[in-house]
Amino acid sequence: MRCSALYCMTKSNFLLSVMALLACGTAMAQLPTYNVGRTPTEAELRAVDDLVGSDGKELPPGSGTAKEGAPIYAAQCAVCHGQNGEGVNRYPRLVGGVGSLNTPHPIKTVGSNMPYATTIWDFINRAMPPFPMERNLSPDNVYALTAFILSKNGIIKETNVMNKNSLVEVQMPNRHGFYPDPPHSTLEKDGFWTPRWEQTKPAAK
């Protein structure tokens, strides 16, 4: 119940925290008014609470280095992504491309494009190698593979240990390559989610 407990702690309202704790623990809740649904078990919640955001709250314990990642990568990833992350056939390249994003032939890789290293961890953990092999790597292996890819991109050293804390601190080259930063989470104006239509409204002919 890692995440829910965290939210409980940050709540200032004591009563609400108690209610939430109860919901997290043993008490069964339902959708008010309609009385449907039930409180998920801890195991059920853990099974779906697998998306890792940029502050790494959901990252599990474990660690790995690029050195440890190299043999796993060679065995399980190189066939598609190339020995050095250069990409094979239609499969994405994972290394290089820094400095290419402002040319007509941009090379988007996890190294040149991603603003947070957590995205790499999350994607490998949930989706790589692709179906039907996905979701079979241990947390240690995912840390090691992420470290391997980051180090091949020259973003961290071969010996840097990646874990729940260090992964979040990795400075990605394209951290400030996106706008607006942070992304809009509210309506800009009546019905507007994308300000560009407003800014650049073409003149009526």
Binding site: A23, G37, T39, K108, G191, T194
Partner: protein, 466 residues
């Protein structure tokens, strides 16, 4: 499949073979094609033995689930280029579209794998968790008991109508592919359906969203584990947790048994096979909101989380899948939609943009849905260019491709200080690169004297070799 059903099917197959022997034909071999139509008592009442013997007799499938006339051949086609290798990606035949509803059978699909989950609705659940007072898990049966809504909304793939698809189409043609057209291959990643389900706001209010929450992140139970962040305000506004499409259950390729419908937002947001929704305080920067679905500009910076589809219209008849038999009256017909709201006006030009006439709009006009427009036209047989442009209820007008390019930061003459002018010869490459998402440009069609219709946009821009 449960064994009872398969036994029955095996039995029927056997009897079909027998009947085939008896009358010298195969009575319901055609009906077998649709695996989940299981002939039952009705087939006895309907007199199975007489069905499907001659080509003019309906098959069991025709009667129990419905088929179409053998003269109707409109189908989805596979997407063009290497994208077809990524998964089940098929395109709606817009050239044959009628009215505003796309039959589920013809709804475009973008599925990033070749396996299609066949999820048992009795085991599928939706969990809502994260920054909520009461995390809850719902079965399909429970969700269907809750108050529901049915709304008509378009879906559109983020990359629809992009220059890259035109380029891929030309490459496919050069390799001998004959079924591709601009109307379907470049523009066919949009469809409209009536979606039925539970308003997400009802579920979120019920679980008690906590202070400080500002986004949700949803995950699907497919094999690529698609996940997408969406602003909480949008979720509270008009999102639907949908199980129904056009009067029946969702199709498998549309996320059976449960999907998100995010009205007016890019297709990628409409998570299929949705199994969990987490309430969070920032977007989660998932791979599919970083490596793709961002809009890279010439200065190397990309805009992201630009989810709303701009005002867009398209003449679907006549288009490059058609040939006009001769001069005379034709009803020009097309579709218009806007991610922000309702379409309030569609204008059509039949003289290459010199003059515009208001088309009539099919009523009622639904917000964030296709609106069918129509305009009568007497073609005098001379070569001309026809096109449409729409305006939404907020006064936003559909741009030309060059106006759109300027919004992306591309300009043939002078682009601001950040970049030198882009030579005409490099424009197409830049448009492919930069305009990979959110293409809502005006699409002109050239009608030639012989009645053939051709694209008059992409072909004029693509100066360089494909």
């Amino acid at each position: 499949m449960n064994s009872k059903v398969s036994d029955r099917r095996a039995f029927l197959k056997g009897s079909a073979a027998l009947a085939g022997l008896a009358v010298g034909a195969i009575p319901f071999a055609k009906g077998e094609a649709l695996a989940n139509v299981t002939p039952g008592e009705s087939t006895v009442k309907l007199g199975v033995t007489k069905l499907g013997v001659t080509p003019d007799e309906p098959t069991i499938q025709d009667l129990l689930y419905g088929g179409r006339s053998s003269y109707e051949t409109s189908v989805r086609i596979a997407t063009s280029g290497a994208l077809a290798d990524w998964g089940l990606r098929t395109l709606t035949p817009l050239q044959d579209s009628i009215g505003i509803i796309t039959p589920a059978s013809l709804h475009f699909t973008v599925h990033d794998e070749f396996n299609l989950n066949n999820i048992d609705p009795r085991t599928h659940t939706l969990t809502i968790h994260g920054m909520v007072d009461r995390p809850l898990i719902f079965t399909m049966e429970e969700l269907k008991r809750l108050p529901s809504v049915s709304r008509v909304h378009f879906l559109e793939c983020t990359g629809n109508s992009g220059m890259g698809h035109y380029r891929n189409m030309l490459q496919d043609r050069a390799k001998g592919r004959t079924d591709v057209t601009v109307i379907q291959t470049v523009h066919g990643r949009t469809s409209t359906s009536e979606w039925t389900g539970v308003p997400l706001s009802l579920l979120l209010k019920g679980v008690g969203v906590q202070k400080g929450a500002s986004w949700i992140v949803a995950e699907g139970d497919d094999n690529v584990h698609h996940a997408k962040s969406i602003p909480l305000a949008k979720a509270m506004d008009d999102m639907i947790v949908a199980y129904g499409q056009n009067g029946e259950a969702l199709r498998r390729e549309q996320g059976y048994p449960l999907r998100l419908v995010v009205p007016g937002f890019q297709g990628v947001c409409n998570v299929k096979f949705v199994k969990s929704i987490k309430v969070v305080d920032k977007p989660y920067y998932m791979q599919r909101e970083i490596s793709a679905y961002t809009n890279l500009k010439p200065d190397g910076k990309a805009s992201w989380y630009e989810s709303q589809v701009g005002p867009k219209s398209l003449i679907t008849f006549p288009s490059d899948a058609h040939k006009l038999p001769g001069r005379g009256f034709y009803e020009i017909s097309g579709i218009a939609w806007a991610g922000r709201g309702a379409i309030s006006r569609v204008e059509v030009s039949t003289d290459d943009g010199r003059t515009w006439k208001d088309a009539s709009l099919q009523q009622p006009v639904f917000r964030k849905a296709w609106t069918r427009f129509r305009l009568g036209w007497n073609w005098d047989g001379a070569e001309t260019v026809i096109m449409s442009r729409c305006t939404d209820e907020y006064g936003d007008i559909q741009p030309t491709y060059m106006e759109l390019a300027k919004m992306w930061g591309l300009d043939e003459k002078s682009y601001d200080e950040r970049m030198p002018a882009i030579p005409a010869t490099e424009m197409a490459q830049w448009l492919t690169t930069v305009g990979a998402v959110l293409n809502n440009q005006i699409q002109p069609w050239r009608v030639s004297q012989d009645g053939s219709v051709q694209d008059a946009l992409f072909s004029t821009l693509l100066h360089d070799k494909i």
